[in-house]
Amino acid sequence: MNLHLVAIPLLPLAGAAINGLLGKRFPRTLVATVALAFTAASFLWAVWAAIQFADGGAAGPYIEHFATWMQIGNFQAEYGFYLDHLSMVMMLIVTGVGFLIHVYSVGYMWEEGGFYRFFCYLNLFMFFMLTLVLASNYLQLFVGWEGVGLASYLLIGFFFWRDSAAAAGKKAFIVNRIGDFTFLIGLFLLIKHFGTLDFASVFSKIGVLPTGEATGLLTAIALMLLGGACGKSAQLPLYVWLPDAMEGPTPVSALIHAATMVTAGVYMIARSHAIFDRAPMALLVVAIIGCATALFAATIGLVQHDIKRVLAYSTVSQLGYMVLACGVAAYSAALFHLMTHAFFKALLFLGAGSVIHALGGEQDMRRMGGLRKKIPWTFWSMTFATLAIAGAPPFAGFFSKDEILWRAFSSAHGSWVFWLIGLITAGLTSFYMFRLWFLTFFGDFRGAQHEEPEASGRERHASDAASAAPPGHGAHGASAAGGHGHGHDGVHESPPIMLVPLVILAILSLVGGWVGIPAVLGGGNHFEKFLAPVFEAYATAGETAPASPAEPSGPSEMSLSLAATGAALVGFLLAWWMYHRRPELHVRARQRLGELYRVLDHKYWIDEIYGAVFVRPLIGLSRAVLWRGVDAGVIDGTVNGSATAARELSDSVRHMQSGNIRSYAGWVAAGAACVLVYMIWLGMR
């Protein structure tokens, strides 16, 4: 059996290359055709490979050696591809959802400048993401890991004439670098102690360790890997880049910052389960981080006004659920939620994009309302997605969230605390999602009446951008300046090419969970059984509990399920009461809550704290380091007006000619003297 898995990532790369090199001269139709054709081919290949693999009936992974990458001493790294049930699920999600979002993007980006650039980046992203999920070793995974970061950086900054977009791209990249390098240290530890980064050999070497052996080392490795996951999957404390990443075009938010890239961290933890399983301490940390992130992000999501920011915090929160599931060693539950989340969150973003598209670039929910009649298709698909994420049965999110909550409660690594926080988060999720739903689709349209819509109404998207936007960039980037009709009368449904993906995702948001209906609800939990060969491999004897742990006492799965549904219902009713039935209530509530509201509205001031604790000191230090040098006059930021600048510059030049040489020599001498003093202090015998 040769599946030629190498073609799956290479096809989108070919698409990226063609559009990147020639796209500038192509008509838009051709650019779109190239991008879609290569992504579709990749998807079909993935489906074919999955069928072949499943038919083969092999329990173990299918490993394809493509080439030797490097060989140094005993250490060897391959270019290889690793297909098991886990990477199969990921591969199908990435290519399938990715393809749908490509289709949608054709409609969404049609009037934008840089059409070819967009699809080039998007295909490039697909290449790196598939490299990541199909990698046969950690090093190759790391290549994909960095590559998706690069694609994400380029795409977040796609509307680069908005300063905020360029800054957000940079922020995403740099925050991720921090996680990346703890990840890299984890890999070095693996090399040092196991001599390889190959999945199969690392895990089998760990698998044969007796239980309890090398726990300290494995905990260290697991925590380092977790650092990487925290960066990529936007967990505390590295989540700050994801909300800002919403500066990218909406299809990008859907594909990269909701459905695929941000789940890479969860995938990596699940992939490394052999390590985590043997490091209970690390698992606990994973669970705590996931749990805390879920709750923390959900509370921020309660008060956001920007429709995409609500979804962004919701993504952070849902990723927290997945990480929590990993932390209680319920990897298949994590993957299940990853899959359903990919469906409904991609749908939510695409739906939001459709709303934004309809309103000509408006993202503030305070200026929406009453849209359900105007854009019925969008409304209905968004409704499906909202029900799914809120956890209403029988939508997909219900089953996957339920599974996570049940595992958080019942797993050997779980605790009722995790369950309770998860339950509260479920309630909050339901509340802020229905808040979004009511604000957007119900009530009266508020776009026209809200304080001077011309100036403040579209400040982020239009007024500053329109002037700076290069010619040829239309609709969303420079919004009001683009070709759409505006105001209430211009609200229009999106074209079919955008609606078809919405409908397909809506169906998946409904039925996607049915593959994992737990036994207690009369299902077969096929999804978990499907992934079982992956997660049962390399398990220590008695370490991972069997699929259905016997719980003689305590609440049953059914009652927990009811509690979760209840929480979702409470959230819905509260949102209905506050934002539909008595819309004036939420204004009162905001006033009543005063301080608490301010804390949430400012997102706990985390960005400000990071700015004060990390960024400002670094910049300050940078200036301090340079203080004595000639830079003081020329570094950016200190220059106030060109006259001062010129004077400072000439001053520093004068100094440079007379005194500074001596001072430099003095520095050299001082350096030598310091070293000498140190040596003497060391006690020369």
Partner: protein, 510 residues
């Protein structure tokens, strides 16, 4: 000499050829009129090619040695002052490649600057001769002469733009500080001579081994170590001996900045490794703490200072200081209490990949030079992607490579060095370095943001000469190819580490 019968001059042939061609360029230059100065470049290029052939000849001698099943032993010439081993051959190739790419990138730049003279190429060749002496010297005198030959040539090249005040100032500063540090360095060497009674590195190593025996006074060796190290740290531009670098890099012609930042730096490292490993090997316990201190200071100073630069050449000057810090970590891991050969290997890999990516960066900057624009301010890069997409994408590749993103060449330098740090148990240092690498992404991305996410200030197309295209193509291809298929390059580095020497060195370069 045992096992080698072709005579001493064959070993010195790469240097002799370069000298010959350099002198030839000086003579030809007199016959050329202003429009045909490009012939100088071709002549210099030919000199490099012939020299490379001579190096290849030496490399074949090593292959013969291996074919006979003998352990790789170095070839000595001129009463043992010149020692050509595989280590030296590696650096020979590196210097020649850097010089060749620099020449490719220089022609149009010099024309724009209106300073197209034959001396320029002759001086590059002379400095390469000096570098080769630094890499292959087995004797303090030869090493010092090589260092000065390289340095004096570079002083002139830095000030080559006679009419540019920045260039003149930079050259003067560099000269004064260079002389100062050479003085300190020479003082250290004289102490070493005093200790060993010989200028031969092996003799010094043995004498120091005795001097470091327990119970002996170590003051004189320590002073010799400190002064020698200070001189070397100056040459590699390690903090706090780095002050000259930003000024010299900014003021020098951009092509020379590139040359200094790679070939100059690699030669200083070759010298440093020769002295620290081959002569001062027995003093490892003493110098590793100094290295740790200087490495931390260098990473801190370089990375922090680079954050707020607005001049691209200055930014990359500080960036290259930061890279010296990382390379130093390799030396720490390679000479620590439990030395790990990956450290030294990492240094060689790092210098190799750094040569290409950094030359590429300065090539792109040099190509932005027009009659009216110097092209070295960050704002001059604005919207480059929309004016010259290929160049911008190349620059992005170099930047990502410098930031250590796989699968680009720059990743492997960091990879081996950090790996060696972990393997030799320097967890705290590795963590610190990793944090600084994350910080460095900030200033590399500032450059990327300018190219990709700003609109161009003007619409004047960027014109690129064929030579520059060739230079950029070579550096770009090397950065990508080494990244994707590092195997042969790593094999080359491994090959050059097979230096059978005294036991100390053999232990460090397994």
């Amino acid at each position: 000499m045992p096992g080698f019968h072709r005579g001493d001059y064959l070993l010195a042939l790469p240097m002799m050829l370069l000298t010959l061609f350099a002198l030839g360029v000086l003579l030809i230059d007199l016959l050329l009129d202003r429009s045909s100065k490009v012939i100088n470049a071709w002549a210099a290029f030919a000199g490099l090619a012939f020299s490379a052939a001579a190096v290849h000849n030496i490399q074949r001698a090593f292959a013969d040695q291996a074919a006979r099943g003998e352990p790789s032993s170095p070839f000595f010439a001129f009463s043992g002052t010149l020692m050509v081993d595989r280590f030296a051959v590696f650096f020979f190739y590196l210097f020649l490649a850097a010089a060749a790419i620099t020449i490719l990138m220089s022609v149009r730049y010099l024309e724009v600057e209106d300073e197209h003279h034959g001396e320029y190429y002759a001086l590059i060749l002379f400095s390469v001769v000096g570098m080769m002496c630094m890499a292959a010297g087995n004797d303090l005198i030869l090493l010092f002469i090589g260092l000065e030959l390289m340095a004096v040539s570079t002083y002139i090249l830095v000030g080559f733009l006679r009419r540019d005040r920045r260039s003149n100032e930079a050259a003067l500063k560099y000269l004064l500080l260079g002389a100062f540090s050479s003085g300190i360095f020479a003082y250290g060497l004289s102490l070493l001579y005093g200790l060993a009674g010989s200028t031969n590195l092996q003799q010094i190593s043995m004498a120091l081994g005795n001097a470091m025996a327990p119970g002996k006074a170590r003051v004189v060796p320590a002073v010799a170590l400190v002064t020698t190290a200070a001189g070397l740290f100056f040459k590699i531009a390690a903090v706090p001996f780095h002050q000259w670098a930003p000024d010299a890099y900014e003021g020098a012609p951009t092509s020379i900045t590139g040359f200094m930042s790679v070939a100059g730096k690699a030669s200083a490292w070759a010298l440093l490794l020769r002295i620290f490993l081959f002569a001062l090997g027995p003093m490892r316990p003493l110098y590793v703490p100094i290295l740790v201190f200087v490495a931390i200071a260098t990473m801190t100073g370089g990375n922090l200072a680079a954050l707020t630069q607005s001049n691209v050449k200055r930014l990359f000057a500080y960036s290259s200081i930061a890279h010296v810090g990382y390379i130093m970590l390799g030396l720490i891991a390679g000479t620590a209490f439990l030395p790990n050969p990956d450290g030294i290997r990492g240094i060689l890999v790092y210098l190799l990949v750094y040569t290409f990516m950094n030359l590429g960066v300065f090539g792109v900057i040099a190509s932005l030079r027009r009659r009216d624009i110097i092209g070295d301010e960050l704002d001059d890069l604005n919207g480059l992607f929309f004016k010259a997409p290929t160049e911008a994408v190349l620059m992005l590749t170099f930047l990502l490579s410098l930031a250590g993103i796989p699968p680009l060449a720059g990743f492997y330098g960091k990879y081996f060095i950090f790996l060696a740090l972990i393997e030799s148990g320097h967890y705290a240092l590795a963590t610190l370095a990793v944090i600084y690498v994350a910080v460095s992404a900030y200033y590399y991305l500032r450059v990327a943001n300018a190219m990709f996410m700003r609109t161009a200030g003007d619409r004047v197309p960027v014109t690129i000469s064929p030579g520059m295209w060739a230079g950029l193509a070579i550096t770009g291809a090397a950065t990508v190819v080494i990244g994707i298929y590092p195997e042969p390059f790593l094999r080359m580095v491994n090959w050059s580490m097979h230096v059978a020497q005294n036991p100390t060195v053999a232990q460090l370069l397994r």
